[in-house]
């Protein structure tokens, strides 16, 4: 069913969740949707409903409270799904990494496919990451491999 994966690649819907951090990457993500950068020309649409979304965009460092929400959102998304960690805080915890209530990186809570370290991530970089994520969506075989890798992770 080549046409299905081709269609997936051209209309990935995004779910954005800010887990903490300073908001800078979140604002740059919204800026990437607006006329100068215009993510919508790639068929991407920002949605608020996890059931509609294909790509989960995580910005900011994950703390004890938002980690639960993030996990919850991730589990509600239907397969295939790709997780993009935008900004150095989502990748490793960044400047806040030794904070007393933080998980060092979003990958401690959900499996992350793409890392975009930057402070703050520029809209061009975000577009690049999301286009790569759209390619991953189309790779069905890789997705099956991921499902195996994810299994032990999801128990924790």
């Amino acid at each position: 069913m080549a046409w299905v994966s081709s269609a997936r690649k051209r209309s990935p819907w995004l779910l954005h969740y800010e887990t903490g951090g300073c908001n800078g990457c979140a604002i740059e993500f919204v800026a990437a949707l607006t006329p100068l950068y215009d993510l919508e020309r790639f068929g991407m649409l920002n949605t608020g409903n996890p059931k509609h979304a294909d790509i989960l965009v995580v910005t900011g460092c994950v703390n004890a409270r938002s980690g639960r929400v993030l996990r919850n959102l991730y589990e509600q998304m239907s397969e295939p799904k790709v997780v993009v960690a935008v900004g150095v805080c989502a990748c490793t915890g960044g400047i806040f990494h030794d904070g007393y209530n933080l998980a060092p990186g979003a990958d401690k809570v959900v499996p992350v496919d793409l890392y975009l370290p930057n402070c703050a991530a520029r809209p061009e970089a975000i577009i690049d990451a999301l286009l790569t994520a759209a390619d991953l969506l189309a790779e069905t075989r890789r997705r099956d491999q991921h499902a195996h890798q994810r299994a032990p992770d999801q128990q924790g």
Binding site: H16, Y17, E18, T19, G20, G21, C22, N23, G24, C25, A26, I27, E28, V30, A31, T34, P35, L36, N46, T47, G48, P50, G60, C61, N63, R65, S66, V69, L73, G94, I95, F96, D98, G99, Y100, N101, L102, C119, A120, R122
Partner: protein, 359 residues
């Protein structure tokens, strides 16, 4: 008594770029009470500051909030300078003012876009953010980066503006003013926007004083309060009056922000015209000791820092009170009695910045 329902509003919601939760207690469609639930973005910055070197805490201050990063570095640098008795060169004070006003411009334009989006006016959202990109271009050209600029430091500024940059700024300000002139009548006169905002989220002047509203929320209720009148940085030498609206509703608060964009443009022009020559950075030696309170005007209102240092390499205490925290009690007051469908817009009307509140 009617049957009551509790609806969790947030933490993940399309209206907010950031997570906050309100537990709304409803009687049919009317909100009777709202309980804010915080902590989704807590990072423990105040604790980190007691471990890190005080010069490195500057970068931590910048990352309290990505929208008003310049304001936080400005407040932190001013507080440390007051503790250590450092006199900042006059040129640096003017540069700080220019960058602070650019920060205010982009923050207000961002808010205007989000408000238009919450109303459902998608094309206005896009137009406002198009205008915002002009401001970000100016910030990037003069400060080197879009969000985290690191241009203000303890003892002055890290960068200087040359004649070429000033010319670029003036040229771009004209572009921006044209774009704002197009946007302004839509915000002030459009029937769609008026229907959604006039009389929604009422906060009387007496309530605003009693509940401690700050910034555009207070100015939208007829209180002429603006921390810039304290005259920090170069504001004492630039003649200006705070923008005040007396309609006490979401519409008034919106107009305050739109008009403040024009005010910021004027302030930048005045600062460029008066920009004195000279150095921009003095050397800093020693360690801070003592206590200080620093208040500055953020785009969202009064920002208050309390710093305590005991002559060590890190601070003993750093208390941050941000404008959105002060504006939460007025918000809970405004939401009571409103319809459920109006809650997103009322919440936005105080310009919530959760990253600031939870630190």
């Amino acid at each position: 008594m009617k049957r009551r329902t509790v609806i969790p509003f947030g933490p993940q919601h399309v209206v907010f770029p950031e997570p906050i939760q309100f537990r709304l207690i409803l009687e049919e469609e009317r909100v009777v009470d709202a309980i804010p639930a915080l902590g989704y973005m807590h990072r423990g910055i105040e604790q980190l500051a007691t471990v890190k070197d005080f010069t490195k805490t500057l970068y931590l201050a910048e990352r309290i909030c990505g929208i008003c990063s310049v304001m936080h570095t400005l407040a932190y640098a001013q507080a440390i300078e007051e503790l250590m008795g450092i006199e900042v060169p006059p040129r640096a004070k003017y540069l700080r003012t220019i960058w602070a006003e650019l920060g205010r411009l982009q923050s207000h334009l961002l808010w205007m876009g989000l408000a238009a989006d919450a109303i459902g006016y998608e094309s206005l959202f896009m137009q406002t953010w198009r205008a915002r990109e002009v401001v970000l271009e100016m910030i990037e050209f003069t400060e080197g980066s879009r969000i985290m600029t690191g241009s203000i430091t303890i003892g002055g500024t890290k960068r200087d503006l040359h004649a070429e940059s000033l010319e670029f700024l003036l040229h771009k300000l004209e572009h921006l003013e044209q774009a704002l002139n197009d946007i302004y009548p839509v915000f002030s006169d459009d029937p769609l926007i008026k229907q959604r905002t006039v009389g929604v989220g009422l906060l009387s002047k007496a309530d605003a004083i009693k509940l401690g509203a700050v910034g555009p929320t207070a100015r939208g209720s007829g209180i002429a309060e603006d921390m810039r009148l304290l005259g920090y940085a170069a504001y004492g030498e630039l003649d200006f009056q705070p923008v005040v609206e007396t309609s006490c509703d979401s519409y008034g608060r919106m107009l305050v922000r739109v008009k403040e964009c024009f005010q910021s443009i004027e302030l930048i022009r005045k600062a460029i015209a008066k920009l004195p020559p000279g150095e921009v950075l003095v050397k800093v030696k020693g360690r801070p000791e003592g206590e200080v309170i620093m208040r500055i005007e953020q785009p969202r209102g009064e920002l208050l820092y309390y710093l305590k240092a005991g002559g060590d390499k890190s601070l003993a205490r750093w208390r941050i009170r941000t404008p959105t925290l002060s504006n939460l009690p007025p918000l809970v007051h405004m939401v009571k009695g409103a319809r459920l469908a109006d809650v997103p817009l009322i919440t936005l009307s105080i310009d919530t910045c959760i990253a600031c509140v939870e630190r």
